[in-house]
């Protein structure tokens, strides 16, 4: 039997809690972290105390909330994997993450803008270059680079192995995990931490969402809900959060007695934008799903559940539903479909990684959580949604989709993996 890669540790922080067990319990109870806000409802992370994260005061100035979320999830993934550092050198630990866009804080640049104005209130670049720019904190540039948070997390855990940062949407977190799996299979690292973190919700990130016309706005009737594949869906809602996994060879985990329930077996990737809308095309999404099945050496009927991207956008959900229909042809057993976005919002770069960890929970517990909140399925979309209450089912294989509204599509397959002694 060929080697496989298993998940031996996980960390999640979302609007529904800062540990895997808290988030899982909240999802089972049907709770949603989405709150009404001025122009669009959002699912922000709150109550995450950065003081417990071991952050050096020197570096605190350049750390946004995305850094705190990434560090928290990384530390939990690392700790729950119970890695013996006497056995594993820093160079033998790899690190990959999908990371979101970074928006400047207006407050960081406002003093500079004001200092750069001439008498009539226009920007005067001579003033900007002469003195205005000095109003900007000298470390502000680092706060604009999304890899800096990643490097800070690596410093905290003393990770020095193979690495990269993918950006900025849901597909990036899935690519990060797939790259981590390959890094392990190719023996370039013994342990890999991999996952993703969302961008920080701010007026600027909301403006970007509005610019691309993906957000449900406050004027809509169901504006406070993200309704994946729902009849009243009006757009997606932004959420904050991070999910990081710890990955290693199954034989390596068995040898050191590490616990696991899930292995990662397939991955596919494609890019094709729907020119009519801000989302990938049916062709792009189905290509990624088919590739994932091929790489896992599985047939469509082997899949028990799809954790869809299902972000609640009109065209995005329609295209994804059509792609699922195309891949899982009629007459065959249709898999059930779940989306976490009704409860957590759209975590963008963090979404795919969080969904993989939730998928591992579902395999472990044999349960799929309900869609949060009041929900009415769009009967025009031929997908079978898990709806009102948690559903028990035997889950051998789950497919996770993660898409970017720029056109990138990715799909990953996880499977139940029994501990050595149980096999």
């Amino acid at each position: 039997m060929s080697e496989s890669v298993v998940i031996t540790g996980a960390g999640i922080t979302t609007s529904l809690g800062h540990t895997v067990s808290d988030v899982w319990a909240a999802l089972l109870s049907g709770r949603s972290g989405i709150k009404k806000a001025d122009c669009s409802a959002v699912a922000p992370v709150s109550g995450l105390d950065p003081t417990g994260l071991g952050i050096h005061p020197r570096d605190a100035r350049i750390m946004g909330k995305h850094t705190h979320m990434l560090i928290k999830a990384s530390q939990d993934a690392y700790t729950s994997a119970c890695i013996d550092r006497a056995e594993v050198s820093p160079e033998d630990i790899g690190f990959y993450a999908g990371m979101g866009m970074i928006d400047y804080s207006v407050d960081d640049l406002l003093p500079c803008v004001l200092k750069s104005l001439c008498g009539d209130g226009a920007i005067d670049y001579d003033r900007f270059f002469a003195s205005g720019y000095r109003e900007i904190h000298p470390l502000w540039p680092l706060s604009m680079l999304n890899n800096i948070s990643f490097c800070q997390a690596a410093i905290g855990l003393n990770i020095r192995g193979e690495n990269t940062v993918f950006s900025p949407h849901a597909d990036s977190g899935l690519i990060a995990i797939a790259e981590g799996v390959r890094t392990i299979l190719e023996n370039r690292a013994r342990i890999v931490l991999a996952g993703g973190v969302s961008e920080v919700i701010s007026p600027l990130s909301l403006a970007r969402g509005n610019y691309f016309n993906i957000l449900a706005t406050a004027s809509g009737t169901s504006a406070a809900a993200c309704s994946p594949f729902g009849v009243n869906r009006q757009g997606t809602l932004l959420g904050e959060g991070s999910g990081i996994t710890s990955l290693e060879l199954r034989s390596h985990a068995d040898a050191r007695g590490a616990l696991y329930s899930t292995m990662i077996t397939g991955f596919g990737i494609a890019c094709h934008r729907d020119v009519q809308a801000s989302c990938p095309s049916v062709y792009g999404i189905s290509t990624a799903m088919q590739q994932a099945l091929r790489s896992a050496e599985r047939l469509p009927q082997d899949i028990d559940l799809i954790i869809a991207h299902g972000d609640g956008t009109l065209a995005g959900d329609r295209n994804e539903a059509e792609a699922i229909q195309a891949v899982f042809a009629e007459g065959q057993r249709q898999p059930n479909v779940y989306s976490s976005k009704a409860a957590l919002g759209n975590l963008l770069a963090g979404a795919g990684a969080v969904d993989i960890i939730l998928g591992a929970c579902m395999i472990e517990h044999g349960t799929v959580p309900p869609v949060a909140g009041a929900y009415s399925h769009d009967s025009g979309l031929k997908v079978t949604m898990i709806k009102d209450r948690p559903e028990s089912m035997k889950l051998q294989r789950i497919m996770i989709n993660a898409l970017s509204y720029e056109g990138q599509c990715s799909s990953l397959i996880i499977e139940a993996a029994n501990q050595e002694g149980d096999r």
């Binding site: 890669v5 001025d38 350049i62 160079e91 990371m99 400047y104 207006v106 640049l109 406002l110 803008v113 920007i123 670049y125 001579d126 900007f128 270059f129 720019y133 900007i136 470390l139 540039p141 680092l142 680079l145 890899n147 990643f150 490097c151 800070q152 690596a154 410093i155 990770i159 020095r160 193979e162 690495n163 990269t164 940062v165 993918f166 950006s167 900025p168 690519i175 790259e179 390959r182 299979l185 190719e186 370039r188 007026p203 909301l206 403006a207 970007r208 610019y211 991955f267 990737i269 494609a270 890019c271 094709h272 934008r273 290509t287 590739q291 896992a296 970017s404 720029e406 056109g407 990138q408």
Partner: protein, 428 residues
């Protein structure tokens, strides 16, 4: 999950957009001749900026790019995105691959994206009479955000546009690891072809920070040169009088193709990509490891990956940023990796001529590394007149070198402490 197989990967196309031009040959001839693309910036561009020179793509070339990609340019055109389209398109054409057309699920893109443009106009536009930022008006008037603003230019847009324009609908990834980005994008693309995720990937990077906030970005960090030397001699990697990085802009891409795919279609093969490695300093986000410990690990990993001995490497295209810290630490790392053989190595810095293309820097540098292996010629490090005792390798000072290059390595290291090295060798 497909892995473990190691298909051979060859380079069949190269494309550039730099301050030295838009064509591969004119760029290559210019760097061999030691010509600098660093010029004084116009007052319109730089005003009283502490940074007065950069490796800027000249206006005529920029206009040509904008005209070629009129549809993607929109009103103003984001320089990063259009440089990426130009250089990726040039690389595909150079490889004799279809530049437009049908969907190819086995072709893909691996792209290093620069930061994007932070515009103070996007704050100024929504100041109220009390000079506070009016969030309410901003959130209603988001469609007025500047065309090229970072707020509305997702980092994965250039890769999506390349996929769309050229029908490369398979693998697609965007890497953002500061100045390590492009070499990491090339490495990720190399791996994807090697593993069988794609048969061809156009990989590289694009960046431009020659805008007001971009110009002072590295001044704030204390990394930019603010010296008043003649622009062409401002960037002097490994020289005792080096004064910091000098910005460039543009893009560099390579077509990475599975060997039999290239051979079957009769493609010209420049060289073979044989190894890649990355590492992290885990030291400080504000400075590289003073002994180049991370750089050493990434070079060793790349060597281990291709299984060739250190003595087989004849040339290193260095990260060579012209900062005090990098050039000394990189030199030390090279000596630690190559030992005695380090003395026989030719090491040079493309940045001495085209400046630091930041996230894109590894793109053109990979192109020049491939050309060295293909042509047995090495471009010089220009402006190297005052030897620094801490930098005591053969940096090919000021004059190009004719030398057999069996294999060459290109380094890129990023702010934060991410390092990457990629190795190219003669094909055959």
């Amino acid at each position: 999950m497909l892995s473990g197989q190691k298909r051979r990967v060859v380079v069949t196309g190269l494309g550039l957009a730099t301050s030295l031009g838009l064509e591969l040959d004119e760029n290559w001839q210019a760097v061999l001749a030691g010509k600098s693309g660093i010029r004084r910036l116009s007052h319109e561009k730089a005003g009283k900026s502490p940074v007065q020179a950069a490796g800027q793509v000249v206006d005529a070339d920029w206009n040509k790019i904008r005209d070629t990609f009129e549809k993607e340019a929109g009103h103003e055109g984001e320089r990063r995105t259009l440089f990426a389209l130009w250089a990726a398109g040039s690389a595909l054409r150079d490889a004799g691959l279809p530049e437009t057309g049908s969907r190819h699920a086995r072709y893909g893109v691996s792209l290093a994206a620069g930061l994007g443009v932070n515009r103070i106009e996007d704050i100024h536009r929504w100041l109220d009479t009390g000079r506070n930022f009016d969030y309410t008006r901003f959130s209603r008037e988001y469609s007025r955000i500047a065309d090229d603003s970072i707020i509305r230019n997702n980092s994965n847009r250039p890769a999506a546009l390349i996929a769309e324009r050229f029908g490369l609908n398979g693998f697609n990834s965007t890497i953002t690891t500061a100045c390590a980005s492009a070499t990491q994008a090339l490495g990720i693309g190399f791996r994807a072809v090697q593993r069988g995720d794609a048969d061809m990937i156009v990989a590289g990077g694009a960046d431009s920070m020659i805008n007001p906030v971009g110009l002072i970005f590295f001044v704030l960090l204390g990394a930019a040169s603010v010296a008043s030397d003649e622009p062409s001699s401002l960037c002097r990697p490994f020289d005792r009088k080096r004064s910091g990085l000098v910005m460039g802009e543009g893009a560099g891409f390579a077509v990475l193709e599975e060997e039999s795919h290239a051979v079957n279609r009769g493609a010209r093969i420049y060289a073979e990509v044989s190894g890649y490695g990355s590492s992290m300093d885990a030291y400080q986000v504000t400075a590289p490891h003073p002994k180049g410990a991370g750089a050493e690990v990434s070079m060793k990993r790349a060597l281990l990956d291709c299984g060739i001995s250190a003595g087989h490497i004849d040339y290193i295209n260095a990260h060579g940023t012209s900062t005090k810290l990098n050039d000394a630490a990189e030199t030390l790392a090279i000596k630690n990796v190559f030992g005695e053989a380090a003395r026989g190595l030719a090491v040079s810095s493309s940045k001495s001529m085209i400046g630091h293309l930041l996230a894109a820097s590894g793109g053109p540098e990979f192109v020049f590394t491939v050309m060295s292996v293909n042509q047995d010629q090495i471009h010089p490090t220009i402006n190297l007149h005052n030897p620094d005792p801490k930098c005591d390798l053969d940096y090919v000072p000021n004059e190009k070198r004719l030398k057999t290059v069996r294999a060459a390595l290109s380094n890129s290291f990023g702010f934060g402490g991410q390092n990457s090295s990629i190795i190219v060798n003669k094909y055959g």
